[in-house]
């Protein structure tokens, strides 16, 4: 189980994430939502060990992750929001690098990698440099890289970004199957339609604070809304969106 308690990150004294707490149990998919700048990516960076929290605790199976960060990182998979890849590497070379750094033996890694490349439709482009890949193709490579070592916890930051309809359907099915196998998934996004279909529970963040943390159905019921979008809008957007849209039109036509 992943347990986050009172997690806080300050940048120059300003809180980007403020006393956030949640947990993910095996087989659970947690939707981590919030508008731009709410602190989602900062939380994710702390969860993967890239950023050090200012205060608070992240425990994986009861063990503080910072005590043995490498052991924890061996058990997680991560898909970043921005594909920071080495443009001169090919898709296959990138998977090879990730697999090797995860300590997977060549005899296991090579066939696994090739099979995954075939399954996600990148076989023809496997030797092309990543610089020439479309956003969706890069996203597919990152997804496969995050799954190579069969992780226990999968941390996904906007994983559907750039994916075509087919690939999105495959990913949705994959997430369901991973949860059915007892894997934990943290799914950070602001695409609410997908979150609503995929996640068991959601956590909504606003300006670094948790404003809601419950199951989708319970939140809808509680807020008397028919969709997650309505719940989200009520919790995170105090301003009148229609008024803003009208003002934009005024500026454009001026």
């Amino acid at each position: 189980m992943l347990e986050v308690r009172q997690l806080t990150k300050l940048y120059n004294g300003v809180p980007a994430v403020d006393r956030v707490s949640f947990s993910i149990k095996p087989g659970e998919i947690l939707g981590y939502l919030g508008p731009n700048g709410a602190g989602k990516s900062t939380t994710v960076k702390m969860l993967i060990g890239l950023l050090e929290p200012t205060s608070g605790h992240i425990e994986f199976h009861g063990q503080e992750i910072r005590r043995d960060l490498k052991a924890y990182q061996r058990r997680i998979g991560y898909v970043p929001e921005e594909p920071h890849l080495y443009p001169h590497l090919s898709g296959r070379e990138y998977l090879q690098l990730v697999g090797r750094l995860r300590g997977i033996e060549r005899c296991t890694l090579e066939p696994k990698m090739d099979e995954l490349l075939r399954l996600i439709g990148l076989w023809e482009d496997r030797h092309s440099p990543l610089a020439g890949y479309s956003k969706g193709m890069r996203q597919k490579v990152l997804l496969m890289a995050s799954l190579l070592h069969d992780p226990e916890l999968l941390i996904l930051d906007e994983p559907f970004s750039g994916l075509d309809v087919n690939a999105s359907m495959i990913l949705r099915g994959l997430l369901d199957s991973l949860a059915a196998r007892g894997k934990m998934v943290l799914y950070s996004s602001h695409v609410l339609e997908v979150v609503e279909k995929v996640c068991n529970t959601v956590l909504i963040l606003r300006k670094g604070h948790v404003v809601a943390h419950d199951s989708v159905a319970h939140l809808r019921e509680l807020m008397e809304k028919t969709s997650l979008e309505g719940v989200f809008a009520q919790l995170t957007q105090p301003e009148d969106t229609n008024a803003v849209a009208r003002r934009i039109l005024d500026v454009v036509s001026a």
Binding site: K45, Y78, P80, H84, L101, R106
Partner: protein, 345 residues
């Protein structure tokens, strides 16, 4: 055997080995020196250029030492004096080339933000990333030193031992030449990276990037500025670093270890400072990369610039193109460095 080596190369060799291999391959992938992914061509061209220059120089020096050898009034001390002067020129040249390349590659000596993000969530610690980058830099530097100094050391040893009066071992000259030339390169390299290490340790994270670029430009300009003075460098002055390595050469050839003291100290002290600074600062450096402050809002002077631009160019399309080019030149690191060099020059 080739198949066996290929299989060994393809195998997984632990985190450190894989990271060093990765950084080694990435080192030459720089749009300034090569088409991405084609570093082998750059390395081969560089090697060929050095070999060609060394062979041409060897022919010239062979004639010079043949003339000295055949001069009836020539003494042993005159011959040795000529060898020392030529060696000093080689040392200065090797040090200048090392300084130029090190300052040009200044920003590639530490892991980049891309490295931090691309290797995020993998079971690799910042210490391992830094150590691997350092290992790759050291391997590249060793290969560079051998390539730059190996051929001149061999050819010069062969020529000098051939024409030197009395019995002279070619291997002794070879060892002395190589030690003096490589020592000069090692001193320059570690002295420059030690400066970067000290800046990294002492400066606040947000001032490091700016100061580092300025220091890089100052060093580059200083090296380029001293190149025309190469023929008139001091030949015996104790504070002139190439003289320390010329003394190292003498210490090996004449068997007098006391002469090697300055050279040995100049190689070990900067290396120790660099290693210390690296160990102290790697964690801080990664934090600096990841938690960099957001860009500042434009100042009042940029508004003035816009007004001047409006007066100068009426067409908004021309204004747009000019502003785009100006901002690209101003904000890209390589252009900023070039601009700084021009300003300092």
């Amino acid at each position: 055997m080739t198949a066996g080596f290929r299989q060994w190369r393809e195998d997984t060799h632990g985190t450190a080995g894989e990271l060093v291999r990765h950084f080694l391959a990435r080192f030459f992938d720089n749009e300034m020196i090569a088409i991405p992914g084609e570093w082998q061509k750059v390395a081969v061209s560089l090697f060929a250029a050095i070999v060609s220059v060394a062979i041409t120089a060897a022919l010239v020096y062979r004639d010079r030492y043949l003339a000295l050898h055949d001069t009836p009034s020539g003494t042993v001390s005159q011959f040795q004096q000529a060898v020392r002067h030529d060696l000093l020129s080689f040392i200065v040249l090797a040090m200048a080339v090392t300084a130029l390349l090190t300052t040009l590659q200044w920003q590639s000596l530490f892991p980049s933000l891309r490295d931090c993000f691309a290797l995020a969530a993998l079971p690799v610690s910042p210490r391992e990333i830094f150590a691997a980058k350092f290992g790759a830099v050291m391997l590249i530097f060793s290969a560079f030193v051998v390539t730059l100094t190996g051929m001149p050391a061999i050819l010069f040893a062969w020529i000098v031992s051939w024409y030197a009066p009395g019995n002279s071992s070619v291997f002794l000259y070879l060892a002395a030449n190589f030690a003096a030339l490589a020592g000069g390169c090692i001193f320059v390299f570690f002295a420059l990276v030690a400066i970067q290490g000290i800046l990294l340790t002492l400066l606040k994270p947000h001032t490091f990037a700016r100061t580092s670029t300025v220091v890089q430009a100052v060093l580059f300009t200083a090296v380029v500025g001293t190149l025309p003075l190469m023929g008139s460098q001091p030949k015996t002055t104790f504070w002139w670093p190439p003289v320390w390595f010329e003394h190292l050469w003498e210490a090996i050839v004449n068997g007098s270890p006391a002469l090697a003291r300055n050279a040995m100290l100049s190689m070990t002290i900067p290396a120790a400072i660099f290693a210390g600074a690296y160990l102290l600062s790697y964690h801080r450096y990664q934090k600096m990369l990841l938690e960099a402050q957001p860009g500042r809002a434009p100042t009042r002077s940029s508004g003035l610039g816009a007004k001047l631009l409006e007066r100068w160019m009426a067409d908004p399309r021309e204004q747009g193109a000019f502003a785009f080019i100006w901002k690209t030149l101003f904000r890209s690191r390589s252009h900023r460095e070039a601009g700084l060099v021009v300003k300092i020059g």
